[in-house]
């Protein structure tokens, strides 16, 4: 009897832990901020860059550029000149030949810590992210470092655990790092912020959680926020003429928050969300109950929006098709993060993404360079590019200030008005988010096809 009670308790804890682990921040109690701070630039007169979704493999540049926005160049190509007169030449870094480097930089080293999550929870981000960051540091040092300073990357594993994350953060501070690259999830980043206490900048490589963008704590994101991607998705849906939508969500950050913002924005733009249906990230493998409910809707939804993991989106798409529901699938960036392009049954799906892998773009050049040098491909394209961008943001602040003091560098990062990166131009303008564009891709012939690009300023 006692044994069974013990088992019931253990089982309950396991399931709760598993459910929490799938949340973006693992903390259901976190309240997402109202998305009013953000405003899309994709109004009628200030239209987003947009291409026909089914036009094959477009040149990103063929999208109608937003005149007011800084990403007139192709994704990953040089944008407007950064505010600082001096900057790291990204193209030169990417072109570096590790077998023929220049003289090694001899100045005082710029130490950057990477509190990486190598656990099953966050490893899909930080394993490729840390490899990319380490390789990018090699390339930077190969072309003379940052203003003559060698770049030293210190990578430590937080094991997906907030307590370990706090300890690792302290170790990195003891190592004398100027800034820390942070992991994906909210709770572990929060643990790091408690240690850095606003005295050392933290830039999360892959988190899209708006609450982490807190200039007061010198906490920044390297990517756009969930607010931005959900607003862009809503705008895209309306631009396609999709008037009705159904959503899938689970309460809480990311999986719930993007749907919340999408719904608000979509309805503000004239669309109607017919219903929201539950799912459990990584757990739900059968959507028959939800599909039956959607099948009974009148009118039918034109689009299904969610932050489903890629394999779940594929299952849902198949079940919708089989039920005769002819709705487009529009998914958040979890799609690529969870291997969307390696899954069958997702042809024609749309998803938001951090950049577009243009064949001659910086991201693709970086990935190719890595593969050539290391003999193996990085598992993630976006996260590799974001890791390099995070380093570039720190490097630019060091160049701008000539200092390695964490607070000075952190403040300069936040004040940055345009760091030319791999995913676009990262302009914090006093905030914690880089205001990089949101790309909308469509899966065409098993590969990404650029459907639209949106600027969403926060």
């Amino acid at each position: 009897m006692l044994n069974k009670r013990l088992l019931a308790i253990v089982l309950s804890l396991c399931l709760i832990a598993a459910a929490c682990g799938n949340d973006d921040d693992g903390t259901a109690a976190v309240t997402a901020p109202a998305p009013t701070a953000a405003s899309t630039s994709s109004s009628t007169e200030d239209a987003p860059q947009q291409a026909e979704p089914d036009d094959g493999e477009p040149e990103p540049g063929e999208a109608e550029p937003d005149e007011a926005e800084p990403d007139e160049a192709e994704p990953g190509e040089a944008g407007p000149a950064p505010a600082s007169s001096a900057s790291l030449d990204v193209d030169a870094v990417l072109a570096a030949d590790l077998s023929a480097c220049g003289p090694a930089p001899t100045g005082e080293a710029l130490k950057i810590g990477y509190a990486a999550d190598f656990s099953e929870l966050g490893g899909f981000v930080d394993i490729p992210g840390s490899s990319a960051a380490a390789y990018f540091a090699e390339l930077v040092n190969c072309v003379g470092g940052i203003d003559g300073r060698p770049l030293e990357l210190v990578v430590r594993d937080i094991e997906g655990d907030p307590e370990t994350a706090g300890r690792v953060a302290q170790e990195l501070l003891d190592d004398g790092v100027t800034a820390i690259l942070g992991p994906a999830f909210f709770d572990v980043n929060q643990a790091i912020l408690q240690v850095t206490a606003g005295h050392t900048p933290l830039i999360s490589v892959s988190s899209t959680e708006p609450l982490l963008a807190d200039p007061a704590q010198l906490s920044l994101l390297a990517s756009f926020t969930d607010t931005a991607q959900a607003k862009a998705a809503a705008q895209f849906a309306v631009d396609q003429g999709w008037q009705t939508a159904a959503t899938f969500s689970v309460p809480g950050p990311y999986f719930g928050y993007v749907v919340e913002v999408f719904t608000e924005e979509y309805e503000a733009l004239g669309g109607e969300v017919l219903g929201d249906y539950p799912f459990v990230p990584a757990e739900t493998t059968d959507f028959s109950a939800q599909v039956n409910e959607i099948a009974a809707l009148d009118p039918q939804p034109d689009v299904i929006y969610s932050a489903l993991l890629a394999f779940q989106a594929a299952i849902l798409g198949g079940q919708l098709d089989e039920a005769g529901i002819d709705a487009e699938m529009l998914v958040a960036d979890a799609f690529t993060a969870t291997g969307g392009y390696f899954i069958d049954g997702v042809e024609g799906f749309f998803h938001t993404s951090h950049t577009f892998p243009a064949p001659d773009g910086r991201m693709v050049r970086f990935l190719n360079s890595y593969e050539q040098a290391k003999g193996t491909a990085l598992e993630s394209d976006s996260y590799a590019a974001l890791a390099a961008d995070a380093i570039l943001v720190i490097a630019q602040a060091v160049i701008d200030t000539g200092s390695l003091d964490p607070v000075t560098v952190g403040e300069a990062m936040i004040a940055g008005t345009g760091v030319d990166g791999l995913t676009g131009v990262l302009a914090y303008n006093g905030g914690g988010t880089p205001n990089t564009p949101v790309y909308v891709h469509q899966v065409v012939d098993g590969g990404p096809s650029l459907a639209a690009v949106y600027e969403v300023f926060e």
Binding site: M1, N3, L11, C14, A19, E120, A282, N292, E322, E379
Partner: protein, 295 residues
Amino acid sequence: MTEIVQQLVDGLGRGGEYALIALGVGLIFGVMRMVNFAHGELITVSAYASYGLALTGATWWILVPGIVVTAILTSVLVEFVAFRWVRSATDFAMLLTSFGVHFVVQAAFVMFVSASSRHFARPAWITSTVTIGGIRFEAIDLGIIAATALSLAFTVWVLQHTVYGMAIRAAAEDFDTARLLGVRSDQVIRMAFALAGLLAGIAAVFFLMRTGRAAPSAGLIPMLKGVLAALIGGLGRLQGAVIGGLLLGLVEILLVSRLPDSVDGMVNGIVFVLVAVLFIFRPTGILAAGSSQRP
């Protein structure tokens, strides 16, 4: 009315998958008095085996036996490597050992394969449906229900009509006495793990057909649902495992369908509350197992 019948059909399909896993969990509990939290790793290992086979161009005609054989071999191997050394230990030690196996397998795949999931093609018919009288039957659900019924019948037949089965039952009743009477403990336990592996393998076939995904934690949720189903039905009772699985699937589907939007994210929470309530009235599950009734 059609709506309710549809939900019952959907629930049986989902529950059948849980029941298949619960059967294996119940079987091992019957023999070793251990809730095997490593049972899900049989699905995880099978998932990676499927991925490996798929890379070689193998079709599902090859994958299906490959998955089942992998699950059986993994189950026997896990018993040989981990559980045989703690047979005489306390229940708690065995429980911890099963957790240990779970974490070791998970970490091994993260370290030596990837933390990212791997994908392989699902069968083309996987979401196919047939509609009879306004009720849509998914092909995979029909397969699961049939497989569950056959698995239960086969397991019961093995336990009641084969020498090994009788040895397993004897060992489950009183392991030491069974040994004194000549039952070879190693063989009996190995056989029980092989049988549990077979059941996990059948469950894995359907699970992997639906998801086409190998991930270090692929087996975690199915295992938790299977253990929960076994607890609901009554640990150690095979029929109970099936009833528990089907009931769990039905309740989940009904909650997803019937809960208002404002609370529909609480399905798992409500399921656990219902299970807790069940345990208040039936502390040992729906089919409480007397000592002479196991497995």
